[in-house]
Amino acid sequence: MDQGDRESLVRALAEAFGAAVDVTPGDGAAPHILLPSVELPEPWTPSPTRALTVFEDWPRTRPLFFVDEQVIGENGEPPRSHHSKYLLGESWRGFSFNFPWSGDDPVRAVQLWLTRFTVERS
C-alpha cells in the first residue's frame, strides 16, 4: 500500500471515529492505525477506549482489530475467546468475532468489528 492510500485510510477513520493516527512501524509493515478514542456500549468499560487496526492484505481480508487490554464486559472479564497480541511495545486484546467481509470501506470494517460489543455483553 502506498503512502497516499495509507493517508486515505487515516483520514476516513479519523472522520468516522474522531481521531486516527498512523503508527505503522516502518515502511514495509502493514498499515497500523490507532484509534485513540472509540466509544463502546454498556456494559463495556472503559469507554471511550483505544483500538488498533492492522490492515494486512487489505482490502482482500478484513483488518485485524484490537482493543485496549483493560476493556472488560459485564462479568468483569475480557471478551470471550480473547487473546493477547504484542504490538508496538504493548499487549493488545484481540478477540474472536466472525462476520462476512467484502469491499474496501475501512470505516465499515471497524464498525463491523465494534458490533461485537453491541451483540455481546461479555
Binding site: 509493515a29 481480508t61 475467546s81 511495545g89 504493548e90 474472536s96
Partner: protein, 456 residues
C-alpha cells in the same frame, strides 16, 4: 528531639545497551585522538525496569569538526550550542534521550574538572527538556567506563553501572559501581570450567535468561541452563501439567498432573540442581504485563513455543529491547501410522542482524496459521495436540543451550554467532548455516531498540 534526616531513596542503576556495530562506530570516533578529544551523542530509548533503567542506543551523532573548539593541547573539548540544539531537537522528535560520549583512552576512566563543569551546564537543561527521560554522559575507558546521569534538572540517585554490547558473546564494560560479588568458583561447574575457561563461571552467575514456554522444549532448556550455572532464570508459561505432557516434560511426575503449574515444575527442577539460582517464574502467557516486565530483565531469551504468532510476539519484544533471542521449534508430521517428517530448527537472532520476521515468520505463514488455527485454538481442551518426541525436543534444546552458553561466555571464539541449525529428526542430521541478510521493511526490525512505548 534532633531532626530526622530524610531517608534517601535507593539509587537506581543505569545501564546502556548497544549493538556491536553501533558501538564500533562510537569507538572509532571517540578513540581517534589524532586531533585531540572527540565526542558525540547517542540517542537512546528507555527500558524502565524495577530497579534500573536501561538506555537502548539507536543513533550516533558525532560532533562535527566544524562545530568543535579545542584548547591548545586538544584536551578540552567544546562545541557549538547550535549542535546541541540540533541533537536535542532530534531527540525530542524521536521521543528519545541524548547521552554524551567521549573517551580519555585509558582504563579506570574518571571525569575531569572540565568534564564536570561542562556536564553541569549542559545536562541540567537537557534533563528538564527531556523529562521524564534521564540523560547524561559516558566516559569510555579500556573495557570499562564511567557515567553521570541527570533527571528532571537534578543530579542524584542515578548510578551508572555498565555498558552491554549486544553480540555473541555479550561484552560488558563495567563501571566502578558495578558491584559484582566476588564469589568462589562453583565446584559443581568444575568440569565445565575446564572445558570453556575459568571466566565462564562468573559470567554465567551474572547472567539472566528468560525461557518462554517451559513444556516440551523449554523444560529441557531450563534444566540444562540450571546445570550450566546461569544465575537467574525467568521461566514463563501459564499452563498446568496434563497427562499428555508427561511423555516429554523433563522434571514432571505423575503427581503433577492437573495440579502443578509448569513454571513451578521448572522452579523445582532448577532449585533442585542449585538453590542459589534465582528463579523469577511468571505463570502467565506472554505478552501479559507481568511477563513483559519479567522478560525485560533478561540478557538472553529462549523461545520454546509452538505457535508462530507467539514466536512473532517474542521476536518483536526482543528486537525492541535489544535482547538476543534463541528460538527453537519442531514440526512433526505423521501419516497416522508412522513418522513422515520431523523438522526442527534453532535460530539465534541477534540485534543488528536478521530477525525471525526477516526470513522465517513470513506474512503468509502467519496468515495461514490465523486461518487454520486462530488464536486461542491451543487453549481449547478438545483441540488435537501436535505430535512430539521428547528425544527430538532434547536435541534442539541442547543446541539452544549451547547457543546461550556461547552468547554469555563466548566459548566458541566467534564460531557460533548468529546462525541457524536445521534438524531432521528422522535421520538425525543437524546442519548449521548462516542467517540471511536483514529484510528491508521488516516490521520487527523497524522497531529495534525502541524500548518502552512512548505512552508508558
Amino acid at each position: 528531639m534532633p531532626p530526622v534526616a530524610p531517608r534517601r531513596p535507593p539509587a537506581r542503576y543505569v545501564d546502556l545497551r548497544i549493538t556491536r556495530a553501533l558501538f564500533e562506530g562510537v569507538r572509532s570516533h571517540v578513540e581517534n585522538f589524532t586531533r585531540g578529544e572527540e565526542a558525540g551523542f547517542l540517542l537512546c530509548s528507555l527500558s524502565r525496569l524495577a530497579e534500573r533503567d536501561v538506555l537502548l542506543a539507536n543513533e550516533w551523532h558525532p560532533v562535527p569538526d566544524s562545530a568543535i573548539a579545542r584548547n591548545a593541547n586538544g584536551s578540552v573539548l567544546s562545541w557549538s550550542s547550535e549542535f546541541n540544539s540540533e541533537v536535542l531537537q532530534r531527540a525530542v522528535d524521536l521521543g528519545s534521550t541524548a547521552v554524551l560520549v567521549h573517551s580519555h583512552g585509558c582504563p579506570g576512566p574518571a571525569f575531569s574538572d572540565d568534564d564536570r563543569r561542562n556536564e553541569r551546564g549542559l545536562f541540567a537543561a537537557f534533563s528538564r527538556i527531556l523529562d521524564p527521560l534521564l540523560t547524561g554522559t559516558l566516559l569510555l575507558g579500556r573495557g570499562d567506563a564511567c557515567g553521570s546521569f541527570w533527571a528532571a534538572g537534578g543530579h542524584g540517585g542515578l548510578v551508572f553501572r555498565r555498558i552491554v554490547v549486544v553480540d555473541a558473546p555479550l561484552e560488558i564494560w563495567h563501571s566502578g559501581d558495578d558491584r559484582i560479588t566476588a564469589s568462589p568458583s562453583r565446584a559443581r561447574l568444575a568440569r565445565q570450567t575446564l572445558a570453556i575457561g575459568p571466566a565462564s563461571d562468573a559470567k554465567l552467575r551474572d547472567a539472566a535468561v528468560g525461557v518462554v514456554g517451559v513444556s516440551g522444549g523449554g523444560s529441557h532448556v531450563v534444566q540444562q541452563l540450571a546445570h550450566q550455572g546461569v544465575g537467574t532464570l525467568i521461566p514463563i508459561d501459564d499452563q498446568f501439567l496434563d497427562e499428555t505432557n508427561l511423555g516429554r516434560h523433563v522434571g514432571a511426575t505423575a503427581a503433577d498432573i492437573d495440579h502443578t503449574l509448569k513454571v513451578d515444575i521448572a522452579k523445582r527442577v532448577i532449585n533442585g540442581i542449585d538453590e542459589s539460582i534465582e528463579v523469577r517464574a511468571v505463570a502467565e502467557r506472554f505478552p501479559s504485563r507481568e511477563t513483559i516486565a519479567a522478560l525485560k530483565e533478561a540478557d538472553v531469551v529462549v523461545s520454546c513455543l509452538d505457535r508462530f504468532d507467539a514466536r512473532e510476539d517474542v521476536n518483536a519484544f526482543c528486537r525492541r529491547y535489544l535482547i538476543p533471542l534463541v528460538d527453537i521449534g519442531m514440526t512433526i508430521r505423521s501419516t497416522g501410522e508412522k513418522l513422515a517428517r520431523a523438522d526442527g530448527q534453532v535460530i539465534v537472532s541477534m540485534p543488528g542482524r536478521a530477525c525471525l520476521r526477516c526470513f522465517f515468520l513470513t506474512d503468509s505463514l502467519l496468515a495461514r496459521e490465523r486461518r487454520e488455527r486462530p488464536p486461542g485454538y491451543d487453549e481449547n481442551p478438545d483441540a488435537v495436540g501436535d505430535p512430539q518426541v521428547v528425544s527430538m525436543n532434547g536435541v534442539l534444546a541442547s543446541e539452544a543451550c549451547n547457543s546461550v552458553l556461547d552468547i554469555v561466555t563466548g566459548y566458541s571464539n566467534g564460531r557460533r554467532v548468529a546462525r541457524q541449525w536445521q534438524y531432521d529428526g528422522r535421520t538425525g542430521e543437524l546442519l548449521s548455516g548462516d542467517l540471511p541478510s536483514r529484510r528491508a521493511g521488516c516490521p520487527a526490525c523497524a522497531e529495534e531498540g525502541q524500548g518502552d512505548p512512548r505512552s508508558a
